[in-house]
Each structure stands twice: as structure tokens, then as C-alpha cells.
């Protein structure tokens, strides 16, 4: 039961278009170049890969190459923001916010300057490059920093919107991006507001609320469709992990009585943990966590890696069934 207000693509379930969130970011950045003269783009020798090359070519005076120097990427970004620019620092998530974590903590977050951190190649779906390049802990690193906003777009279109919206956030922002092409499920008309979760699937009466973030939102929808006759579920796209839309999360968790979280990230410290923190305090319900369970990734094709690490549609379906069972056990007590 797609939520008509979400204005999703009509072909969500049948051969949806494929595009990478990093490309949505690249499109957004290029548009910001035109719209906002304060926007400056910094990169650490990955301009093509993180999709800021068109910006570099069109606005060479507002593009800063740092070379393979991610700590400097953060500190120079901090200085530019402190002066009055709006710098986007772009690299792979394992390096930024991974390698330069302390610089982000002190010179960007504690300093409270509006640096926008674009971390590309997040998750095991990076594929053949292997574990060294598959960021699985970056949400955890960023969401524990005061002042930091954390956004993980579900598709190319949402990545584009999130990039534009991040400029209006008065403070640092972390944008988590993926390398691989993934299903495009939202449209230009799909609402997007930082900090406001989107309900994508809602049959009314529900037994489980699936809260998903990033491109795996599509798998969550596929699971909901598969379970249609068996377990009524809602699917929520929690694109902003911080600040977390507690109202929506609590409302759906209490309505359903059980929750499944879905993310391509370590379960420890990730979006699911953020949801659990809120629900434990406000409406404790059984939660099943779909994500990576304390492991590093490895080389392989994106789809087989998602399957191997337990983030496929079948895993979400199984998690929903388990959550549903736990819900019934709990309600009998």
C-alpha cells in the first residue's frame, strides 16, 4: 500500500530506474554552484569518483584540490567555513569521516562551522574494492557528534534534494553516499525535509514498522510487498538519522508494536541503535536489526555481498516475521 502522499515512482516494484546516490550528489553540487556563490567544493584526489568533476570544470575557482590528505581536507574545510564559505568536503567515507575523524570532531563539530561532509562509497555494496573501502561505521562516528546532522539518502533523487537542503542547515552535515547504482524510487514531488521521516508504505492497520535508511529502503518496500497478505507493515524512510524524527518513529512503533530497522551499516551504533535509543525511552517494543553484525566486508558483487551479510529482501522478511512473533509473545504477557 504505497502512501500516495510520498509520490513514489510508479515502477518501484517493476524494473525501477537505476542511478547512484553519488550522482544525485554531483547534480546537486553543480546546481549549488549556480545558486550559491558561498559554496566551495574540496576533494582529496577523487573528483571523478565522488562526482564533483563537473563542478571543478565549471567553477575551477571554487574547487580546491587537497591531494591524498584527508586530515587537511577537514581542516582546510573548517577554515573556509569559519571565514564564511560553505565548503563541501568530498571523499570516500572510510577516509572522511574515517581517517580524519578527530579533525572533524574538533575543528568542525566542536567548532560548529558549516562544513558539509560527503562520504561516498559507503556500505558493502562498494563491492570488489573490498573491506578497506567499505565504510560500515561512519554513521556511528558522525551521529555521536553534537551539532552534526546525519543524512543518508535512499536514492539518486533524494541525494540531490539532500545536497541542496544541506546548505540551509546552519551547521555541519554528514551526507552518506553510495557507489553503486540503486533503484530510483522517489520523484521530484516526493517530500523531503531534513529531520522529517517519510512514510512510504502504510496499509493503515500495521503489526510491524520497518524503519529503513539509504538505498536499502527499496529492499524494505519489496519485503512489504511480499508480506502484503501475511503481515501488514509500514515502511518508513528515515533519511535523516540525526536529528531523528522521534515523533514519527514513536507513533509508528507504538501503533505497530514491533519494529525492524534496515541499514547498510554496522548494527552497533548505526541508525537502528538511534531508533532503539528513542524507543527504549518512549515506547519499548521488540526490535529486529537488519544490518552488518560486527563484521568487516570483503570483495564481491554488491548484490551477493548484501545477501551474504544479511541485508537482502529475504532477511528483511524473516526479520519482520520474527518481530511479529516477539510482538505476539509480548502482548500475551
Amino acid at each position: 500500500m504505497l502512501n500516495p502522499n510520498a509520490k513514489l515512482k510508479e515502477n518501484v516494484f517493476e524494473k525501477p530506474d537505476q542511478a547512484a546516490t553519488r550522482d544525485g550528489f554531483g547534480k546537486g553540487i553543480l546546481e549549488l554552484g549556480e545558486k550559491d556563490p558561498r559554496v566551495v567544493v574540496l576533494c582529496a584526489d577523487l573528483a571523478e569518483s565522488v562526482r564533483v568533476l563537473p563542478f571543478k570544470e565549471k567553477y575551477p575557482d571554487r574547487f580546491v584540490e587537497l591531494g591524498v590528505a584527508e586530515q587537511n581536507l577537514a581542516t582546510v574545510g573548517s577554515g573556509l567555513a569559519n571565514y564564511g564559505k560553505i565548503p563541501f568536503i568530498s571523499s570516500y567515507a572510510t577516509f572522511s569521516p574515517g581517517r580524519n575523524n578527530e579533525q572533524i570532531r574538533t575543528t568542525i563539530a566542536l567548532n560548529n562551522v558549516p562544513v558539509k561532509i560527503a562520504g561516498a562509497h559507503a556500505g558493502v555494496s562498494v563491492g570488489p574494492d573490498g573491506a578497506t573501502h567499505q565504510a560500515l561505521e561512519d554513521i556511528a562516528l558522525m551521529r555521536v557528534l553534537p551539532h552534526m546532522t546525519v543524512i543518508y539518502p535512499c536514492d539518486n533523487e533524494e541525494a540531490y534534494k539532500a545536497t541542496l537542503a544541506s546548505v540551509a542547515v546552519d551547521g555541519p552535515v554528514y551526507l552518506r553516499l553510495a557507489r553503486e547504482k540503486t533503484p530510483v524510487i522517489t520523484t521530484a514531488g516526493t517530500p523531503f525535509a531534513v529531520g522529517k521521516a517519510n512514510v512510504l508504505w502504510d496499509p493503515g492497520e500495521i503489526q510491524v514498522a520497518i524503519i529503513a535508511t539509504g538505498p536499502l529502503v527499496h529492499n524494505a518496500l519489496l519485503a512489504a510487498e511480499e508480506l502484503r497478505a501475511e503481515v501488514p507493515v509500514a515502511v518508513i524512510n528515515l533519511h535523516t538519522i540525526k536529528p531523528l524524527d522521534a515523533e514519527t518513529v514513536v507513533a509508528y512503533a507504538s501503533k505497530a508494536g514491533a519494529v525492524v530497522t534496515v541499514e547498510e551499516h554496522q548494527v552497533m551504533g548505526g541508525m537502528g541503535s538511534a531508533v532503539a535509543e528513542v524507543l527504549a525511552a518512549r515506547t519499548p517494543v521488540p526490535i529486529e536489526f537488519v544490518g552488518v553484525h560486527d563484521q568487516f566486508g570483503q570483495s564481491g558483487e554488491p548484490a551477493e555481498l548484501l545477501e551474504h551479510y544479511g541485508m537482502g529482501v529475504s532477511h528483511i522478511v524473516a526479520a519482520v516475521r520474527k518481530a511479529c512473533l516477539r510482538r505476539q509473545v509480548q502482548s500475551r504477557k
Partner: protein, 275 residues
């Protein structure tokens, strides 16, 4: 050129700044002594002669920016700012106390004109370079100064930033290295040698100057020279004596990271006031 009268005045002010530093540290009961005393002359030169600034209007857009990279010597900056009129000198005694604007390591949002948050070493030069880069994009006239310790020349981030500033020819940036030869666990050349520091910066396309960091006219002349160098950033390696002004602690690395006791402070203040 500084007049003799001005030099005498600055020297007296530096002594007052040193005295305030000692009073702050003894009241705080923790903090760093050697670095702040060693940099008192340079901070006095900045706040009472070099900087184009307005203590009554700390947010003035055209002010010169002073970025302190090695945040642990912040007591000397607080003291110099207080004496320059940014806030009452009495407030200095709140250093490191709960609720103070004068945090143990400086924080941008706590105190106007502190410019940036610092403490973890090696990340100030990049911030100063980013600041200078942004200012140059907008053809701003103000200068960006970055004060660093010598110990943080061991940090990789410092050299990433040096490479960047050299490559981008940030001539509106002047860095100053407090070459006092000590760090928290020993002498720099014992812990991890830094020399040849001059050759290293020259290799990174910087204009390098060296001076006695306690000779205010010489230091001021070098800052002026840096303004005339248009094709490179300039770094001034300022040779200082850690603990300068208190004979019994001068040059002793053990005073890097501890404050004086009340008795020691009494002796130290005596020396500073009657120098």
C-alpha cells in the same frame, strides 16, 4: 620601525602578560606554564602592535585573524587579549573553571575573537590556510596569522597543510613556529627530531625567516617582511626560551604541562615584576 619608547612599552606590557599568566595558572591549579611564558613577547607584539583589530568590536570583519594552533598555550592569549581590552583582566582568573569563557583549550563559540577551537595538535595550519584561501577568493585585505608549536611539526596534518599553502601560494598567511625545543615528554630533538625545519619549509615552497622570539623589534620587522612577500606564504621560526622570565624554569621541559604552586608563583611573580 618601532620607536625606543614603544619597545619599552611593549616590554613592560609583556611582563604584565607574564604575570597574569602565572596568576591564572596558580588559580586554575592546572595548565601549561613554559609555552605561555615563552610566547608572551610575541603575543604582546601581536595584540599591541601587529594586529589590525578592535577589541571593542571583536567581530569586525576586516580584522586580522590570529589562529592559535597549539591551543594549550591559550593562557597567554587570554592574558594578552584581556590586557588589550577584550575583557576585564580579572576574568582571567576564571581560567579552566566551570562556566568560564576561558576554557582550558580555546573554543570559538565561547569567547569572541578567539577565532577557532584548538588543542589537538597539528590542525591549526590547515584551518588558517583554509581561512586565508577563502579570504583571498574574496580579495580581502586582512592577514591570517597561525601560531604553532614546534612539537606539532611532528604531526602529519601540519605537513599536509604546509604542502597545500605552499602549492596555493597563500601569501596572506604568515605562520609562526614557537621553536622552544621542548614538548611534553622531553626535548624535541630527543623525542622526534624536527631539524632541519628551515629546509623542510623551504622545500614546501615557503618563505622562511628566523629570529629571536624575545626580540620584539626583530619579530615585528619579520612580520612586516612577510607582508612584502607576495608569491609564497611565510613562516617565522621564532626561537624562544620556554618559561622565559622565570630563571629557575627556563628551558626545562618538565614545565611544559604543569602549573606553579602558590609558593612557586610568588617567587615567579617577584622575578617577572622586577626584571
Amino acid at each position: 620601525m618601532l620607536t625606543e619608547e614603544k619597545v619599552t612599552q611593549l616590554t613592560e606590557t609583556a611582563a604584565s602578560v607574564r604575570a597574569t599568566v602565572i596568576e591564572m595558572l596558580v588559580a586554575a591549579g592546572s595548565g601549561h606554564t613554559a609555552g605561555p611564558l615563552g610566547m608572551a613577547d610575541i603575543f604582546t607584539a601581536f595584540y599591541f602592535h601587529i594586529l589590525n583589530h578592535d577589541p571593542a568590536n571583536p567581530a569586525w570583519e576586516e580584522r586580522d585573524r590570529l589562529i592559535l594552533s597549539n591551543g594549550h598555550i591559550t593562557p597567554v592569549r587570554y592574558a594578552a587579549m584581556a590586557h588589550a581590552g577584550y575583557f576585564p583582566v580579572e576574568e582571567c582568573l576564571t581560567l579552566r573553571k566551570f562556566g568560564t569563557r576561558l576554557q582550558g583549550h580555546p573554543e570559538r563559540e565561547r569567547l569572541p575573537a578567539i577565532e577557532t577551537t584548538s588543542g589537538p595538535l597539528g590542525s591549526g595550519l590547515g584551518q588558517a590556510a583554509g581561512y586565508a584561501y577563502g579570504a583571498r577568493m574574496d580579495a580581502k585585505k586582512f592577514r591570517v596569522y597561525c601560531l604553532m608549536s614546534d612539537g606539532e611539526q611532528q604531526a602529519g596534518n601540519t605537513w599536509e597543510s604546509a604542502m597545500f599553502a605552499g602549492d596555493t601560494k597563500l601569501s596572506n598567511l604568515t605562520a609562526v613556529i614557537d621553536r622552544n625545543n621542548i614538548q611534553i615528554t622531553g626535548n624535541t630533538e630527543d623525542v622526534m627530531p624536527l631539524e632541519n625545519l628551515r629546509a623542510k619549509y623551504e622545500a614546501f615552497n615557503w618563505h622562511v625567516l628566523e629570529c629571536d622570539g624575545h626580540n620584539i623589534p626583530a619579530f615585528v620587522a619579520m612580520v612586516d617582511e612577510a607582508k612584502a612577500i607576495v608569491e609564497k606564504p611565510t613562516v617565522i621560526i621564532a626561537h624562544t626560551i620556554p618559561g622565559k622570565g622565570v630563571k629557575e624554569i627556563e628551558g626545562d621541559y618538565r614545565w611544559h604541562g604543569k602549573p606553579p604552586t602558590a609558593d612557586e608563583a610568588k617567587r615567579f611573580l617577584e622575578q617577572i615584576r622586577h626584571a
